[in-house]
């Protein structure tokens, strides 16, 4: 039955190039850093050797800023202060107070991490421009403090410190220092690339782009934001350690807020989110004015301010991003209505044996008792009782404003009950946060599908696997491998609205929850997609034994696949029962226009 509605293999879709050019950009970036870092020493040009030591440290900081800005969605205007903390930690401990170098290095990293924690703490609660102001304030205050605490930092006099061991030149005129400052941005770049491939990177991105989708996948957005700040700060602190021997002298003037703006602007000018962006950005924002305005130092801030403004208005994708957009446009387009094909998975599910009917209708997996939710004077839910059993497809219908979505939000923990309680698999969930409830085995979709454009179609599915409690069994893993081969390089921006919905549904299925909530899943689906969706939901219940709650205005669909239906009206349950019985219930009749379905 299910197989019949799924069309055969789609036509070939020749695609040129990969979904994104991250790998190529890492390769180019690594070459550029190695070239600029090592060539001046090989050629014996000490001016450029020295200049690029600083440039490459700045590039490493900008790479981390890029990660923080785009992958974790955190706008920080304070990374210059974090760099300063790392540098001052080392210089005060080892340079001024004669502690061993190892202790100084540790002090620098700890100081930077502490600065990161200052940013991370408010990040647990707030986001967006709030954090922009917190970090900017810190960058304003940092040099003021350095000046003020002169008994500790030597104030405006600064601290001179060199590490002679790093000046020795073991290979072909290249010093240890040059090797280190060349290696650091390369490592930062590779780490950024690796993070993007890893579940942690995906989690950060989901938390940044859609906090509620993140929580429904068991991700805590505040933790992700804070973790990103701490990671970026530790890395930036390490850059600060190298700043000391590279420059030889540190003072508050080296870490004014303008430095933080340089890192931020470099990411924007180079191209937000592009791995190569920070390299190109630092070259343009930092090197160009340094070389061409060498006599007109005071014009530098004006120049990079104007440059950034021009980029935001004229090339919002930045230099590298504009090339990447152009490359993506040249790739051939999507697969039309068959752009997302999941035969491999549906075939697998339909081959599974039915869940024994004895198990169906066992103890409810979800019990809601007396659920009440008020928004000011409005009572959205008024003492709702609601049960769902394993393997049951439970339709939830009612007019707009009857409380369907409110009930879903309460169950998934996105809003709190004012009265009543509910249990999932026998455990009380009433007071738990959304992410914790998701971990207990709840999955949901949203009225607008949460599909992430910066990831390929396969990566979007992988987000469900990331949240899965146990590894998939071999049969599923094989089906997934087929899906991956099909969609690893596909861009979700080419999918139709209906295909995005199906994609989100499959993602939730891969999370392997014991109960799935669908919020108006059929809205905007074509008739083929609707059949595909219905087949998938049936498989979920019959083959995998999931409990399904379906909020839907398409009553044909609900009456076609639901085992039980609950009707809500102004926050109350007015009817509940089998579809056939309910269709004759006077309380339900008016839902059908003209009563044609009665």
């Amino acid at each position: 039955m299910a197989a019949a509605v799924l069309p055969g293999p789609a036509a070939d879709r020749p695609l040129r190039g990969s979904f994104n050019s991250d790998r190529q950009q890492v390769a180019i970036g690594t070459c550029l850093i190695l070239l600029t870092g090592l060539a001046p020493s090989l050629l014996g040009n000490s001016y450029w050797e020295h200049a690029f030591q600083l440039v490459n440290i700045y590039i490493a900081v900008a790479v981390l800023q890029n990660l923080l800005f785009v992958d974790a969605g955190q706008k920080s205007f304070g990374q210059g202060a974090i760099l300063g903390l790392g540098a001052y930690g080392l210089a005060i401990a080892s340079g001024l107070n004669g502690m061993p170098l190892a202790a100084g290095l540790l002090a620098g990293v700890l100081a930077a991490a502490a600065g990161g924690l200052l940013f991370a703490m408010p990040a647990l609660r707030v986001q967006g421009f709030h954090l922009g102001f917190v970090t900017m304030s810190a960058a304003i205050v940092f040099p003021q403090l350095l000046n003020q605490l002169d008994w500790f930092t030597r104030g405006l006099n600064g601290i001179s410190m060199t590490i002679p061991a790093l000046q020795t030149r073991p290979f072909a005129g290249i010093s240890w220092l040059t090797l280190l400052v060349t290696a650091v941005p390369v490592v930062a770049l590779l780490a950024h690339y690796a993070l993007r491939q890893a579940p942690l990177g995906r989690r950060m991105r989901i938390a940044a782009e859609s906090p509620e989708a993140a929580r429904s996948l068991g991700i805590r957005p505040g933790i992700m934001r804070s973790l990103a700040f701490v990671l970026a700060s530790v890395g930036t602190g390490i850059c600060g350690l190298l700043y000391v021997p590279a420059v030889g002298f540190i003072s508050p003037q080296g870490f004014l807020i303008e430095l933080s703006f340089v890192f931020f602007f470099a990411v924007v000018v180079g191209g937000r989110g592009q791995l190569l962006g920070p390299i190109v950005g630092i070259w343009i924002v930092f090197i160009l004015p340094t070389v061409f305005l060498v006599k007109l130092v005071e014009y530098k801030p004006l120049v990079y301010g104007l440059m950034t403004l021009a980029v935001v208005i004229l090339f919002p994708d930045g230099v590298v991003g504009t090339f990447e957009t152009w490359r993506r446009r040249r790739r051939q387009g999507g697969g039309g209505e068959r752009g997302f094909r999941l035969e491999a998975v549906t075939r697998l599910f339909s081959a599974l044996p039915d869940v024994p009917s004895a198990d169906v209708g066992a103890a409810p997996v979800l019990t809601v008792r007396g659920a009440t939710k008020r928004f000011g004077q409005v009572v959205a839910l008024d003492g709702v009782d609601f049960d769902v059993r394993p393997g049951e497809i439970h339709g939830l219908v009612g007019a707009n404003g009857s409380g369907k979505t409110s009930l879903l939000n309460v169950i998934s923990g996105l809003s709190r009950l004012d009265a009543g309680r509910y249990q999932l698999r026998g455990r009380d969930m009433t007071r738990l946060a959304a992410a914790a409830i998701a971990e207990q085995g709840l999955g949901r979709t949203f009225q607008t599908p949460r599909v992430f454009q910066s990831y390929s179609v396969w990566n979007n599915l992988q987000m469900g696997l990331d949240a899965r409690p146990a590894a998939p069994d071999p049969a599923l893993a094989a089906a997934l491998a087929a899906l991956r081969d099909d969609h690893a390089e596909d861009s979700p921006s080419l999918l139709s609205h209906g295909q995005r919905r199906i994609l989100e549904v499959v993602r939730v299925v891969l999370k392997d929850p014991s109960i799935v909530l669908f919020d108006e899943p059929a809205a905007g689906l074509s008739s083929v997609e609707r059949e595909e969706f219905a087949a998938l939901v049936r498989q979920l219940a019959r083959k995998l034994g999931k409990a399904v709650v379906l909020v839907e205005h398409d009553l044909d669909l609900v009456w076609g696949i639901a085992d039980r239906i609950t009707v809500l009206e102004t926050g109350r349950v007015v009817a509940s029962g089998a579809p056939a019985d309910l269709a004759r219930d006077p309380a339900v009749q008016h839902l059908f226009v003209g009563g044609a379905h009665a």
Partner: protein
């Protein structure tokens, strides 16, 4: 011990007066933040520099021309700063028109802030300038008080009342208020959204620029001073609840008095640190501010 910590009446009056006067400026910047935030969902990071433009207006004009023309020059500078801010608004809103990118305002307003500070440095040098004011010193509860302090506190209340009247009683103001509820609905109702947002930018510039002009005698008129007002103005806005002008009447003076207390007990250089700590604590424990409403959850 306790006697040392509790200063005499003069000192208390000085701290409260100075704190309230400086805090009134933070409140003004916070109000001008709120106008743009409510109309366009944008937080203008350049608002401190725009406030400073008014002060530089006083430095360029008032000092040279004498006080007979003080009032017409105030109007002129306020309108000029308002026009510049509207232009900034136009630039800021450009990328939002077509693109799905909604973060660009954050970058462009920071860039404008840097551009203004850099231009002022090029034109006037980086040192602080002194400006004379039209008002003499007054004696309040035995404390000699610069007239600009009273001007600052008076301007805070005057602009609060004027903005309240504009936003609640005029058709244009009501339309701007409607924007803060729902952009799409406002557009569907035939409200010219973009024009009103530009007007909001302009009004925010008039508010900040006029007060910058008036209080120039009590502040250090130097290009990098804008950062101090953007930071403390934001703290005042957060303390009062973002978008809530009534809250700024408490938030501004509160931040100002905390800064004055810090200056007295710890040292003038620690005032911004104190504001930063207030900001972090408020965001951690009371993110809606003292008077803000909890934002509705989006799903």
């Amino acid at each position: 011990m306790l006697g040392d910590l509790l200063p005499n009446l003069d000192v208390i009056v000085t701290i409260v007066l100075r704190g309230t006067a400086v805090g009134a400026l933070f409140a003004i910047v916070a109000m001008s933040f709120n106008i743009v935030h409510n109309a366009a969902g944008i937080f203008n990071f350049a608002q401190g520099s725009i406030f400073l433009l008014g002060a530089f207006g006083a430095f360029v004009l008032a000092d040279r021309a004498g006080f007979g023309l003080w009032l017409p020059m105030l109007v002129l500078v306020a309108l000029a700063v308002g026009a510049l801010t509207a232009l900034q608004g136009w630039i800021t809103l450009l990328p939002l028109r077509s693109s799905v990118e909604q973060d660009s305002w954050l970058i462009s307003t920071v860039a404008v802030s840097v551009i203004i500070a850099a231009s002022l440095t090029l034109a006037f040098g980086s040192q602080g300038n002194m400006v004379q004011g039209p008002l003499p010193r007054y004696t309040i509860i035995g404390v000699r008080t610069p007239g600009a302090f009273l001007l600052a506190i008076g301007a805070m209340f005057a602009w609060y009342v004027a903005l309240r009247w504009f936003l609640r009683r005029t058709f244009t103001g009501l339309a701007i208020s409607a924007l803060s509820q729902d952009f799409d609905a406002a557009r569907a109702a035939g409200i010219p959204v973009r024009r009103l947002q530009l007007l909001a930018f302009g009004v925010s510039g008039v508010v900040a620029g006029s007060v910058g002009f008036m209080v120039a005698p009590m502040i250090s008129v130097s290009p990098d001073a804008g950062l101090r007002y953007v930071l403390n103005g934001f703290v005042a806005a957060v303390v009062g609840g973002i978008g809530n002008n009534t809250g700024t009447l408490i938030g501004g003076p509160l931040v100002g008095v905390i800064a004055a207390l810090t200056a007295f007990y710890v040292g003038g250089a620690y005032q911004d640190l104190a504001s930063l700590l207030v900001l972090v604590l408020i965001l951690m424990f009371l993110p809606q501010g003292l008077f803000g409403r909890a934002a509705a959850r989006k799903v």
